[in-house]
Amino acid sequence: MVRVIFKGLASFCAIFGLAIAMAAPAYAYLDPGTGSIIIQSVIGGIAAASAFGAMYWSRFKEFLARIRGNSTSEDKADNE
């Protein structure tokens, strides 16, 4: 009986020990670039969207400048 309990205890310890070993944090095994790769889709998406937005914003500003420029020259023409 004692033997059985001892055996059970031993295998419990072995399994528990293995579980601890397997749950070991990644630390030195993890490539230092992992963090960067994991979030690249998110931050890259934001960067692309803001580049896209900036492009349209500058086109919009050019458009406004063109309208203003045209109206100024028309005004001038009217005055002449």
Binding site: P32, G35, I37, I39, I43, I46, S50, A51
Partner: protein, 467 residues
């Protein structure tokens, strides 16, 4: 037959190695790297970069006798030899910034040409005078759809983070970068930044979130982080977005608390505005015209005024050294604005760059790296002899060891700058005097010419080393 041996810093990339053989620089491309390199070469992108000056020129070597020396090489190229190799921990803020912008510009152009950079190490950039140039031809690889930017972390640690350290916290990157060699880790910078400094999209994207993702991944068990092969990949627009976002951010970074007038004001340090500087400039001019050096070291170069005198007098190149960050920024702007062949670098002469890295030879130390034909040490020796307590004899011996000929300015104890240095400390320098200086100089060199340039006793010595 003696085989060529790779230079000590060239061991990481299995695609090829760099060799120095009989004073010439060669690059092998191995069987491992050949297919990828030939695909990139066929795009014509590398030739385009060489034409714009962004990439170091390369020429195919087909001489069978030479090829025999490089058994690993399936292809062999030769590069022009750089006058002086420098490292990011010796660059000023603006040099590092320009190097970062070059790296990003190349990466953006590359992506448009269907090419990517496999890494983003700052050691892949060298300076020719004040112009940064990319030197690693094997970093280029064909772009594949969905590829992640593999160099992002390295770019942040070797370019972005050191720049942010000075721009946001006012701390120069040099000592820390030299200590760590691989830059400033994102985890460390994340710990240093205040909460309000973290509240920007770019700071969150390139510092705070990568640091957190890395921390989270490290807490997980081994093998639970999804491997690259199972990840969705990065759309090309996002890849490009990351590069252009960083480019925009970095081009607007400046050292904290300094205005453009500070580093742009190198012309205030004019060499011709008073008698002392006029005399010094004339002395340097005469010395350089006589010696005709290819390479001159200017120790304590300040804003590079006398480096410029040396270049105008015929020195082909000058490498200037100083430990003052503002002086280095000024010298760099002078060299850029006037396209001078002047490379200004950070150096604390009492603790010069050591040989370090893998096997303590990956990055070469100051004294092993290059020898100059001439050395200038104007208003310099007292910083070592008085500022750092180095015995005057040792200072003289060290300066003379740097080049066969040179100019040393002796600063007398009566000089106001030494008086200022001694104002808050005991004068322990009983043997610091002009006769002691002269005796020390005559031990190792002969004096070709000598001229007193101030009434307080500053004196220029043109020496010729006993060889």
């Amino acid at each position: 037959m003696i085989k060529a041996v790779p230079v000590s810093g060239s061991f990481r990339d299995p695609a090829g190695h760099v060799f120095e053989h009989e004073g010439r620089i060669f690059r092998s491309v191995t069987r491992y790297g050949r297919a990828s390199f030939e695909t990139v070469l066929a795009t014509g992108f590398l030739d385009e970069l060489v034409q714009t000056g962004a990439l170091l020129p390369f020429e195919r070597v087909e001489d069978a006798a030479l090829l025999d020396l490089f058994p690993e090489a399936e292809l062999l190229f030769e590069h022009p030899k750089l006058t002086y190799v420098s490292y990011p921990y010796e660059w000023s803020f603006f040099q590092l910034r320009d190097a970062a912008l070059l790296q990003l510009d190349i990466a953006i152009k590359a992506l448009d040409a269907g090419v990517v950079l496999s890494d983003a190490t700052a050691y892949n950039i060298q300076f020719i005078g004040s112009r940064p140039v990319f030197i690693d031809h094997l970093s280029f690889q064909p772009y594949q759809d969905g590829a992640y930017w593999m160099g992002h972390r390295q770019f942040c640690e070797q370019f972005l983070n050191p720049l942010l350290l000075r721009a946001k916290l006012g701390i120069s990157h040099n000592a820390w970068f030299r200590g760590g060699l691989e830059g400033i880790s994102t985890a460390d910078l994340d710990k240093l930044l205040g909460r309000s400094q973290k509240m920007s999209i770019r700071m969150l994207a390139h510092v705070v979130m990568p640091a957190k993702a890395q921390r989270d991944a490290m807490r997980k068990s081994v093998g639970t982080t999804k491997p690259m092969s199972q990840r969705k990949g990065l759309p090309k627009a996002s890849y490009r977005g990351l590069l252009t976002q960083l480019r925009g951010w970095i081009s607007g970074l400046h050292p904290k608390g300094a205005s453009a007038s500070v580093w742009g004001s190198y012309s205030d340090d004019n060499t011709y505005d008073d008698d002392e500087n006029r005399l010094k400039a004339a002395f340097v001019d005469q010395f350089i015209r006589s010696v005709k050096p290819d390479l001159t070291f200017d120790l304590g170069c300040n804003s590079g005024a006398f480096s410029e005198v040396a270049l105008n007098a015929g020195s082909k190149a000058v490498v200037g050294f100083d430990f003052d960050q503002v002086a280095l920024d000024k010298a760099y702007h002078r060299a850029k604005d006037k396209t001078l062949n002047l490379l200004s670098l950070f150096l604390d002469a009492s603790n010069p760059s050591p040989s370090q890295g893998w096997q303590q030879s990956e990055r070469t130390g100051f004294s092993q790296r290059a020898t100059a034909d001439a050395v200038l040490a104007l208003a310099f020796e007292h910083h070592l002899a008085i500022g750092k307590n180095v015995p005057l004899e040792q200072v003289v011996e060290w300066l003379v060891s740097l080049a066969p000929q040179g100019v040393i300015e002796f600063v007398d104890k009566n000089d106001p700058t030494i008086q200022a240095m001694l104002a808050m400390r005991e004068d322990i320098f009983q043997t610091y005097s002009q006769p002691v200086f002269e005796a020390a100089l005559e031990q190792v060199a002969s004096v070709v010419e000598k001229k007193q340039v101030t009434k307080d006793g500053r004196t220029m010595y043109w020496f010729k080393r006993h060889d």
